[in-house]
């Protein structure tokens, strides 16, 4: 049977759930309220706010898209098992890997749509306040969307091993603490003895490098310019391999799991 058709059918279910549960709308409305409220400062004669408004916009985009990615991905598998909606799905001639990939693609699609929706609203807000558009914004969006793929894979995998609440909490810590962990491990590695350095390096490699996909500072600051293309390609490769490894881990737990 056509695998793409299977993944599409399962993914569409995830997307429909996100839309009908109104998760995306709540995020979009909240995001817009924050951006518009901040942008109002412009009306009161405060000048030189371009960097501030752009910085705020990318921060809101980053936070809310991370929330959507984690909340959508963390409940997919546990909810299927708890609500017993898994039975009629797995009674069909599909593999558990098909189900996992369908859910993953659905989560990515829902997250991307949420992100693009917010990005579109942000773009309108920036235009209204005459903030200059730069191509680095496009690169920021592409990289952010790639990072969201990694985040969805991490959260889905964690949810295969723990409760959705624990998976969501862990994912939030990993996503928002990504820079902190990396710097901490780097410092610990530098100050540790030669024997311990590979351990810190390995831990650093294992943790998701979510912060690498955040080009918010480049996008917000005028004249910083975009990152070279090889960086984007390297991050794309990282996204494919890291997400692949994560989904494989989820599958190794889920493939024989009694339901």
């Amino acid at each position: 049977m056509n695998k793409i058709r299977i993944w599409k059918a399962i993914g569409r279910g995830v997307l429909l759930e996100s839309v009908r549960r109104k998760d995306l709308w709540v995020i979009a409305i909240l995001g817009m309220i924050i951006i518009l409220a901040a942008s109002m400062l412009g009306f009161f004669g405060v000048r030189g706010l371009e960097v501030f408004v752009k910085d705020l916009a990318v921060t809101v985009l980053g936070i809310f898209s991370t929330i959507v990615a984690i909340l959508t991905s963390s409940r997919l598998l546990p909810d299927e098992i708890r609500n017993r909606t898994l039975y009629p799905l797995l009674a069909r001639p599909i593999t558990r890997m098909d189900l996992l990939l369908g859910k993953f693609f659905g989560a990515v699609a829902a997250t991307w749509i949420g992100f693009l929706m917010l990005a579109a609203l942000t773009a309108v807000a920036l235009l209204i306040f005459h903030v200059q558009f730069e191509w680095v914004m496009i690169q920021y969006m592409v990289l952010k969307m790639m990072g969201l793929v990694v985040l969805c894979a991490v959260t889905l995998t964690l949810s295969a091993y723990m409760t959705p609440q624990a998976a969501a909490t862990m994912s939030f810590v990993l996503a928002f603490g990504s820079v902190m962990f990396e710097q901490g491990l780097l410092m610990a590695g530098n100050s540790a003895g030669k024997g311990m350095r590979p351990i810190f390096a390995t831990v650093s490699d294992i943790l998701p490098q979510y912060h690498l996909f955040d080009e918010g500072s480049r996008a917000a600051n005028i004249g910083w310019g975009s990152a070279p293309i090889w960086v984007v390609l390297a991050l794309g490769t990282y996204m494919i391999f890291y997400s692949g490894a994560m989904i494989s881990m989820a599958w190794s737990k889920f493939r024989k799991q009694a339901i």
């Binding site: 049977m1 058709r5 299977i6 599409k8 059918a9 399962i10 569409r12 279910g13 429909l16 759930e17 009908r20 549960r21 609500n83 017993r84 909606t85 039975y87 009629p88 799905l89 797995l90 009674a91 069909r92 001639p93 599909i94 593999t95 024989k256 009694a258 339901i259």
Partner: protein, 303 residues
């Protein structure tokens, strides 16, 4: 005739919350031939659902062998030929019955106009024509069970495995379900289902497989069982002893006696004797035996 389901020395076990292993199914062996309608009976906790889950590949058997049409149970090839109704039918609350069937149909390999037509036809067959565009969350338990039945029929499966098929259905729904299942059987579909509604089992099945505590108890042809359970009672007035023909002979009034026989042959001998002894025959009643009594007795014997 080919074998639709074959379970040989099947063992299924679960890890309980206290960390101990629970043997839900212990060395169960049975088979279902293609085209048969077989009821799978047992008290609560007997291991029926665990067996059905093993047949579907939802749990890995801890021992033994399970095959569907010669393919390993749980394989894609076996699942492509099965329609399955889970014990507790829960479907995505945010979808409508039509969307639910479309989703499962696509996973079954159906698509396009053929899928749309089949989904609508099945929803009409199960009596959900007017509710096919309402969200599942607004449907009653019985209506959700109908959605479940409709999804199990998608793709015209060769084998239907139905867990507690009549659960949540009202008498009208049960009657409609009987018609649907009989139609499927006439079309050559094999039916294997568990149910606590013994009257449904009696009306639908060719054979029953009885289990208790995860173990096989017995299997019986429904026709044989019905014959075995049939009783004949004779009531007459006169001094005629039938004590040598049955244990169930008693005086029920002044010079009035009643005797109960389990075979027609005994009944005929008794009637001859009553006639020869010039006693007055008051009544002869043929009673169909109760499957419920058989079930209770068989489980008690096996316990």
């Amino acid at each position: 005739m080919s074998t639709a389901i074959l379970a040989e020395q099947l063992h299924v076990r679960y890890k309980a919350k206290n960390g101990k292993w629970v043997e839900a199914v212990q060395g169960l062996t049975f088979n279902v031939e293609a085209g048969e309608v077989v009821g799978f009976l047992g008290p609560n906790g007997a291991g029926k659902s665990s067996t059905l889950k093993a047949l579907m590949g939802f749990v890995e058997p801890s021992g033994g062998n399970c095959q569907i049409f010669g393919e390993p149970a749980g394989s894609l090839a076996s699942r492509a030929r099965i329609g399955y109704l889970p014990e507790v039918a829960l479907y995505y609350p945010f979808l409508t019955p039509r969307e639910t069937l479309t989703l499962y149909g696509e996973l079954q390999g159906l698509h396009g106009k053929a899928l749309k037509t089949e989904a609508e036809t099945l929803l009409e067959v199960v009596g959900l024509k007017d509710a096919m565009n309402k969200r599942n969350r607004s449907l009653s338990k019985g209506m959700l069970q109908r959605v479940g039945i409709a999804q199990s029929l998608l793709g015209n499966p060769e084998l239907l495995i139905l867990d507690e098929v009549t659960s949540g259905l009202d008498p009208v729904g049960r009657k409609e379900l009987r018609h649907i299942l009989k139609d499927r059987q006439q079309a050559g579909c094999t039916l294997f289902f568990s149910s606590h509604e013994l009257s449904e089992v009696e009306m639908l099945c060719d054979r029953i497989v009885l289990i208790n505590n995860g173990k096989f108890v017995e299997e019986r042809q429904i026709s044989d069982l019905k014959q075995e359970l049939r009783q004949f009672s004779v009531r007459y007035k006169g001094e005629v002893s039938l004590f040598d023909l049955t244990d169930h002979w008693q005086q029920v009034g002044e010079n009035i006696y009643e005797a109960v026989f389990t075979s027609k042959e005994q009944l005929l001998v008794a009637l001859d004797r009553v006639h020869d002894e010039k006693a007055k025959l008051l009544d002869v009643v043929a009673q169909e035996g109760s499957l419920e009594d058989y079930f209770v007795e068989a489980i008690a014997r096996a316990a």
